[in-house]
Amino acid sequence: MVNVTIDHKKIQVPEGTTILKAAAAAGVEIPTLCFLKDLNEIGACRICCVEIEGKETLVSSCNTKVEEGMVVYTSSLKAHYARRMNLQIILSQHDFRCAACKRNGSCSLQKICADMNINDVPFQQDYEKNEWDPHFPLIRNAGKCIKCMRCVQICDKVQSLGIWDIINTGKRTSVGVSNMQKIAESDCAVCGQCITHCPTGALQERDDVRKVMDAINDPEKIVVAQIAPAVRAAWGEGLGLPEEMATEKRMAAAARALGIDYVFDTNFSADLTIMEEANEFLERLAHRDEYQWPMYTSCCPGWVRFLKSQYPGMVKQLSTAKSPQQMFGAVAKSYFAQKVLDVDPGKIFCVSIMPCTAKKAECALPNMNDAGAGPDVDAVLTTREFDRMLRSELISPANLEEEGFDSPLGTGSGAAVIFGATGGVMEAALRTAYYALNKENPKPDLFQAVRGLDGIRVAGLEIAGVPLRAAVAHGLGNARKLMEKIQAGEAEYDFVEVMACPGGCAGGGGQPITEGREMAGERGAKLYQLDTENPLRFSHENPSVIVLYDQYLEKPLSHKAHELLHTDHTAWAMASEKTKNRFNKV
């Protein structure tokens, strides 16, 4: 233990503690801006600078460790002046037209400036001009970037993709796509983790709210919405809604209040995904020699993009089952339009509300149009866009009564709702695979071993005498570790679930942003709670799914099911794959 005095308070902290952490222990919250725990402790913004007795210059508290007998003043005149002026300097290079910024109200810079009583900037404002592809789902607004480098770090250290890098030097130092690439040519998985870790509005999703509102206001269009499992665990955060108010039923009511004609649940198509994917897995198991192993889940488009660009040799191991979003779109524009509504599928505008930015890229893939009425999913809104849309349409969910989802695509099981947490797809699939092999249900919580927040979790199971080796990874850095092991032959699995975002969709790149807190664990716990509370615990028991098969698809893996619910992951290429192919031909 080390004895330190912080703002006249004597405390003992373990050796190796940073001043920032020691101060917190002493009850002093030193403001930080670039700091991101364990990932970005680089002392770049100099906002957290403090004075140490006997030292001429200030030190950054986020990455300076305490020493025995150290006396620290967190808000001495020198430290206070430095903190304020450094904020003013940052603002001189920041487009602070806050009123017209998506992060207005959730911006760390804005908050800290308010806290520090910054009410003028004595310097000329000169921010970087923007050059960015406005069609890409991930938008970078250079004028808002404060060069904190968090995006570089999260993409390097957590997602292992290294899409961002420091570009240029001197006063023009900025962040850009690495290796002189354009974002659309890069291996970006569009996971959106850089967005959720950006302190300002420099990184954002492409805003598709207008497109959806136009459809809602178009009397010719029937707007059908699906809401992903993880959205219900987070949508209230962005609205400041108390947890007990932010129920899934109130969420459905709010969506309906926007003017959406049918508010359905992605949980429905998650159950459908399980029917297809679990059966596909059993089918592959029955013909084990004909396939490369393990089989990978395909629900997460960030992961699919990652695998295609980083491990193209393993793409055939992806389940051919579409993600729940895309299954929903295909069913909405076929079965629902024709059999339920009896309308021209072209009249359906299919919008999904997702915790995800990669879903915006997924719905635009050239082969996601199997229902034959344009793209199966027309637009994707992130949870953040959903919240913004509610606010701008003057909807106060707190004043709304709870309402259910619409029928028939609004029924989902507990197995479906846990799709939103890491390990959930695996668990749901195992529940149904167990049923398929044993002809009876397991205890719903039998496969708890795959839950948790460890980066890579493995479980050896036995179902009906069949030994199964399952692995779950979340975060693309963990995915890479797992892939390397599999590729090197150091580990063998039968079924592997990967989610691009840490914590799974609960921690998705489209979710509301809370500075300094990773919310995935808490949101995931809510999803597991919803699973427990749901009388339906098995995808194969979802009555709407059963009806859909009876009336339309026949059975899992049928010809019709293949046509609508499965996809060819090799039918499109990542931009980098195209480059590689071009190179190979030479």
């Binding site: 680089i42 030292k55 210059t57 001009k129 050059e131 480098m149 030097t169 001197g170 023009r172």
Partner: protein, 610 residues
């Protein structure tokens, strides 16, 4: 007003003088990787501030150039802008009245040519080609990328054994580099901005004196791969490759032509600079990994093919051991000895006896200094160095030149050797030289030309020719390996044009420094490992101390002392003193820890594996 006044140094002048000096230091410490166009603009602004304002091209033209360069950086320039910059700069160069103007423009033109790629990248991609991938100046400038801030911090805490282990992650010759490295790492040390560069080699010398290399165990080797790699040449490059390949689990076998290992470290560098027992410390540590050694084996074309059949890969690091000649009349007289030959014999313990002789050394490089200082230690009556340029043009390290002068060696500069006069028995007795005058700068160096003076006759008994070394590459060329002017043509990975064959060190680069040879061995080891289908990682588990929380108050650099010249010039014992604990601690605490401050911290400050 008095008619004349005595000029006194006022505050403005003295402050300007002081800041100019500090600015010079800052330029020295210019960080690697910054945008060259941005730097050029900054230089141009300094140039413009120096203009007196009399003439149009300089007063206004330089400002226009600044604006044009600014537009390049602001992404508003087009290809036409680049043409305009060239035309404007050319005009200023041609029409300015004084050096303030035309030299500024010349610098712009030089940059336009030299940084062409970067200019184009700014115009077309709106981005600089420069990157901050490796922003720590000393680590970047060390060819082997040794973790310098790491071992300095360890030395500061007295953890010298850990420092040795850390250095070895990138360089298995810590002792050699502690004593004789040319320390390119110090060139742009950021401490220059405050006072002076860190004495990095000095700290390493201290470390290696505290923790003997042969007593700090090497890391365990990876599990044997069963692959065999032949290393041709047991010098620093070959032994480095052997060491790392051995750690990666491959069996390395070194084929050495001479009786002992070490290459130029033994057969080129005299004992007083690098005592042999210290060399053996490094070599013993390297051999303790299980490297096999075959001494006294000369590899010709046939032997190479034999080895190629029995080994999975080959690394050729034969160095540059053939003497160069000037082809002077009388050069083959008796008592005309090549530097390479003399130093080679000394390597095996055969010291010359020059008692009572007048010795002339021809050359101006480090080898010439080694020869001259060896001659004085071999009891020569007089030793003179004959060089056709000036003292400041010598390629030898300034400290070596000063050391030689201190030992009583005369420099005869601006004398071009003409012919050697021999007596009736064929023994050299004089060197005829043509006095030179220093002339125009060519290729960055002033070149001498014949002066309007008569030839001179320099009487002597021994002439030592130290005018460069060649590579004995013929046997390898005959085996189909591509060579150019005797140098083996390896690519950046060390690979030759024959599959599975790699080369590095002096035989690829021409005579260069030991650290470059070591770096080439490291590069080859990594790429041979890949070639063999592996990707073994070399790493070390040494925890690096936290930076010191000291204010960066200017403080002098601790330099290493040497024995007094009278005590050193009659023997071959080591001449350099090491630092005391007190000095080493102070010097280590001057390190600014660029691994933890500045851009270095962004990606963890170090490459902890390769």
């Amino acid at each position: 007003m008095s008619r004349l006044s005595v000029i006194s140094t006022d505050k403005v002048n003295s402050t300007t003088e002081k800041l100019m000096k500090e600015f010079t230091q800052r330029i020295i410490a210019n960080p690697p990787g910054v945008c060259p166009v941005d730097m050029q603009l900054a230089f141009l602004k300094v140039c413009h501030a120096q203009t007196c304002g009399k003439c149009v091209p300089c007063r206004t033209g330089l400002g226009i150039l600044e604006e044009l360069l600014e537009s390049v950086l602001d992404n508003t320039a087009t290809m036409e802008t680049l043409d305009l910059i060239e035309h404007a700069a050319t005009n200023i160069k041609n029409s300015a009245d004084c050096a303030i103007g035309f030299e500024s423009a010349r610098m712009v033109l030089a940059g336009l040519e030299g940084f062409k790629e970067d200019y184009l990248s700014h115009v077309k991609e709106h981005q600089c080609t420069g990157t901050f991938e490796q922003p720590i100046p000393c680590v970047t400038l060390c060819p082997a990328n040794v973790d310098i801030p790491g071992y300095i911090a360890l030395a500061g805490e007295g953890r010298c054994e850990d420092a040795v282990r850390l250095i070895r992650k990138d360089n298995p010759f810590p002792t050699a580099c502690a004593l004789i490295c040319e320390h390119p790492c110090e060139a742009r040390c950021r401490r220059n901005m405050i006072d002076d560069s860190i004495n990095i080699r000095g700290i390493k010398h201290y470390v290696m004196d505290k923790a003997c290399a042969s007593e700090v165990p090497v890391p365990a080797c990876a599990e044997s791969t069963g692959r065999k790699v032949a290393i041709i040449g047991g010098g620093p490059s070959g032994l480095t490759a052997a060491y790392f390949l051995q750690l990666m689990g491959h069996q390395a076998t070194v084929f050495e032509e001479k009786a002992q290992l070490g290459g130029m470290l033994r057969y080129g560098i005299p004992n007083y600079r690098f005592p042999r027992e210290r060399l053996d410390e490094d070599i013993n540590a390297i051999l303790s990994t299980g490297v096999e050694v075959r001494q006294n084996v000369r590899i010709g074309t046939e032997e190479l093919e034999d080895i190629n059949r029995t080994y999975d890969a080959i690394y050729i690091a034969i160095g540059a051991h053939a003497e160069k000649k000037l082809y002077l009349e009388g050069e083959d007289s008796q008592h005309v000895v090549s530097a390479v030959e003399m130093l080679r014999e000394i390597g095996d313990g055969k010291y010359p006896d020059f008692t009572g002789k007048r010795v002339i050394v021809v050359g101006g490089g480090n080898v010439a200094m080694d020869c001259a200082r060896t001659a004085i230690r071999s009891n020569a009556k007089t030793v003179s160095i004959v060089y056709r340029r000036r003292k400041e043009d010598m390629t030898a390290l300034p400290a070596e030149v000063e050391g030689a002068i201190a030992e009583g060696i005369e420099l005869l500069t601006l004398k071009a050797p003409l012919r050697i006069e021999a007596d009736e028995e064929g023994k050299a007795r004089a060197l005829w030289v043509q006095p030179q005058i220093i002339g125009q700068v060519r290729g960055g160096r002033p070149s001498p030309r014949k002066a309007d003076k008569a030839e001179e006759r320099l009487e002597c008994d021994i002439i030592l020719m130290a005018v460069g070394q060649d590579i004995i590459s013929k046997p390898f060329a005959q085996a189909g390996i591509a060579t150019n002017r005797g140098q083996l043509q390896a690519d950046a990975s060390g690979a030759l044009n024959r599959v599975g064959m790699y080369a590095g060190g002096d035989c690829v680069s021409g005579p260069a420094t030991v650290i470059k040879a070591i770096a080439a061995g490291k590069v080859a080891a990594a790429n041979i490992d890949e070639f063999l289908g592996f990707s073994h990682m070399i790493s070390v588990d040494v925890e690096i101390p936290e930076p010191l929380l000291n204010d960066k108050i200017p403080c002098g650099r601790v330099n290493l002392g040497e024995k007094e010249s009278w005590a050193r010039k009659d023997n071959f014992e080591g001449i350099e003193y090491t630092m005391s604990d007190e000095e080493a601690y102070q010097e280590a605490s001057r390190c600014l820890r660029c691994d933890r401050h500045g851009c270095g911290v962004l990606r963890g400050g170090r490459q902890d594996r390769w």
